[in-house]
């Protein structure tokens, strides 16, 4: 339970940081903001990597699920960052 409270504390504080930072993003950049944060949500790849690393407590099924999760999360990350970059570069040039 102690760990849960710790996690919850971090979660709530991070939400406040998120609201503060994101409120300052102008509407012009809302689409790139969305695709960019989308890429960031691919962070779940961390969990997927830990499940696919072949540690002694993994099973065949959990490894398969882990690798599938890596594929999905990487699609999310790579496509998200690349398409955001594509859009932002259109805003940059005058």
């Amino acid at each position: 339970m102690e760990m849960f409270i710790m996690s919850l504390t971090i979660f709530v504080l991070a939400v406040f940081v998120g609201v503060e930072v994101i409120n300052k993003v102008p509407p012009t950049l809302h689409t790139p903001l969305m695709s960019g944060t989308n890429a960031i949500s691919g962070i779940v790849v961390v969990g997927a990597i830990l499940s696919s690393g072949g540690s002694e407590h993994t099973t065949v099924l959990s490894t398969i699920l882990g690798v599938a999760a890596i594929v999905l999360a990487t699609i999310n990350i790579v496509a998200g960052f690349m398409v955001t970059d594509r859009m932002l570069n259109m805003f940059k040039k005058k």
Partner: protein
């Protein structure tokens, strides 16, 4: 080593925050995005250093496949399809979280056998939450993609879906209580059942929502995809995941509330109110009768003449502009007018595209400078000094009824006050209603002219007519 790894996650989180901070101006945004990407790299390296990672083969294969697919779609996608792309990516992210939760469940069973893990209540709840949010995001997003593409129409039997949603939620709560209270690590069937149930729930939650409300739904699912990551962080006890997930969650929630405000609807109304058009629409004959003989039709030549004498011109782009692929023609006409000394601006309504900021991206692609794109609140006072306002493929967002007719279904929705301009030229293919399904009294106003036709073609004709003047 574990300390170093956790520090790595912290560094990644800080880079993400700096990355999003970079998004506050278009100038720093590219760099911000790169910072976020570096943050992701740091997080992945930290994960690879974990003592639980002993073989790299499968990881590398997975990353290569994912990166290949991701790079391909990122290069290929058209800017008009951005809403579908973001929605699909939300779904993919939710799917990843779902799989991570399921894999972790299986691993925990094995760990418990080895005597290294004891299931707690908070772990059980976190697993279920992670499955719930991940699964709902996955299927909900793909239904949203179908609706954005127009392949899935507005649902007729909203009540049936609501009923299924309620039933699923009750079953889910009962299942969670049973799961946490009885024997969490011996409930394979229950977990499998819950996954299926949550997948169905995702479909039934989005199905009854009207196609016009998809900008809200996509923003909300964006938030879910972050929360799904945070929930996975609770399951794994990983702070990096929790921080990052909550950042994305906050971002999605803010965009959702901006979209709701722009449509003057509450989130509950969007999610559970059914389709707007289904409740308020007029029939075709009513629509025709409304306009009968009151609309003044005009031509591209006349538009060119109007523009010739104008000092201030405001373009009002709507999604119809993007459908007609007329962004470049608009830019060309704007360039011409600017070269003649006319003041040109673009009025952007928050729901002008099909997702937050979509219209800005579409115009940026056509190389419209972003400082000419003016938000609704800043441009509205300027319409009174505007000689010509050109409405291109927008409808409900310029309907004056929203401001003054309490009986109108869109009453209270903030609009662009184009009717205050000296002349309003509406370029539209026909008089069919917009998403709200109601006729637009702007079109029968004294100062409104209608040029019917495809926006791109009309603009091109106007450009050549203007050249000949």
């Amino acid at each position: 080593m574990q300390i170093l790894i956790n520090l790595g996650y912290l560094v990644a989180s800080v880079l993400f925050i700096y990355g999003i901070k970079g998004m506050t101006t278009p100038k720093t945004a590219v760099r911000g995005n790169q910072l976020s990407a570096i943050g992701m790299l740091v997080a992945v390296i930290a994960a690879l250093l974990d003592h639980n990672v002993v073989h790299f083969t499968w990881i590398i294969i997975g990353v290569l496949i994912g990166a290949g697919i991701g790079a391909y779609i990122a290069k290929k996608v058209a800017m008009t399809d951005m809403p579908e792309m973001v929605a699909a990516l939300n779904g993919v992210g939710g799917g990843a979280s779902l799989l991570v939760a399921a894999a972790n469940y299986l691993e925990s069973q094995k760990l418990a056998e080895m005597g290294k893990f004891v299931a707690t209540y908070d772990w059980s709840v976190a697993v279920i939450l992670s499955i719930l949010i991940g699964a709902v995001t996955l299927t909900g997003s793909f239904v949203a993609v179908g609706k954005l593409k127009g392949k899935i129409g507005d649902a007729k039997n909203v009540k049936l879906f609501k009923w299924i949603v309620k039933l699923s939620l009750l079953t889910l709560i009962a299942g969670t209580v049973y799961f946490a209270a009885v024997n969490p690590l011996d409930s394979d069937l229950l977990i499998a059942g819950m996954i299926v149930l949550c997948l169905v729930l995702g479909i039934c939650l989005v199905m009854p929502i009207g196609g016009a409300d998809m900008p809200v739904v996509v923003s909300l699912l964006n938030s879910y995809s972050g929360l799904a990551g945070a929930a996975a962080g609770f399951v794994l006890g990983n702070n990096g995941l929790i921080i990052t997930g909550s950042l994305v969650g906050a971002s999605g929630i803010i965009l959702t509330s901006i979209m709701c405000k722009a449509m003057n609807r509450s989130l509950t109304n969007v999610l559970f109110g059914g389709s707007m058009a289904a409740t308020a629409g007029v029939s075709k004959s009513e629509n025709d009768a409304f306009y009968e003989g009151k609309v003044k039709f005009s031509s591209a030549d006349e538009l060119a003449m109007l523009l010739d004498g104008a000092q201030k011109v405001v373009f009002v782009p709507g999604y119809g502009l993007a459908v007609a692929q007329a962004q470049h023609a608009t830019r060309e006409l704007a360039n011409m007018l600017e070269a003649r000394g006319t003041d040109v601006k673009y009025a952007i309504h928050p729901v002008a595209g099909r997702m937050p900021g979509h219209m800005n991206v579409l115009l940026a692609e056509a190389e419209v400078p972003y400082d000419q794109l003016v938000e609704m609140d800043s441009i509205n006072p300027e319409f009174a000094q505007t000689d010509v306002a050109i409405v291109l493929g927008a409808n409900d967002v310029v309907n004056p009824a929203a401001a003054k007719d309490p009986a109108s279904p869109i009453y209270g929705m903030p609009i662009l006050d184009v009717h205050n301009a000296r002349t309003v030229v509406v370029v539209k293919r026909g008089l069919s209603p917009g998403f709200a399904g109601i006729p637009n009294e702007l079109f029968i106003r004294e100062n409104a002219l209608m040029v019917s036709g495809d926006a791109k073609k009309v603009l091109q004709e106007t450009i050549s007519a203007l050249k000949d003047l």
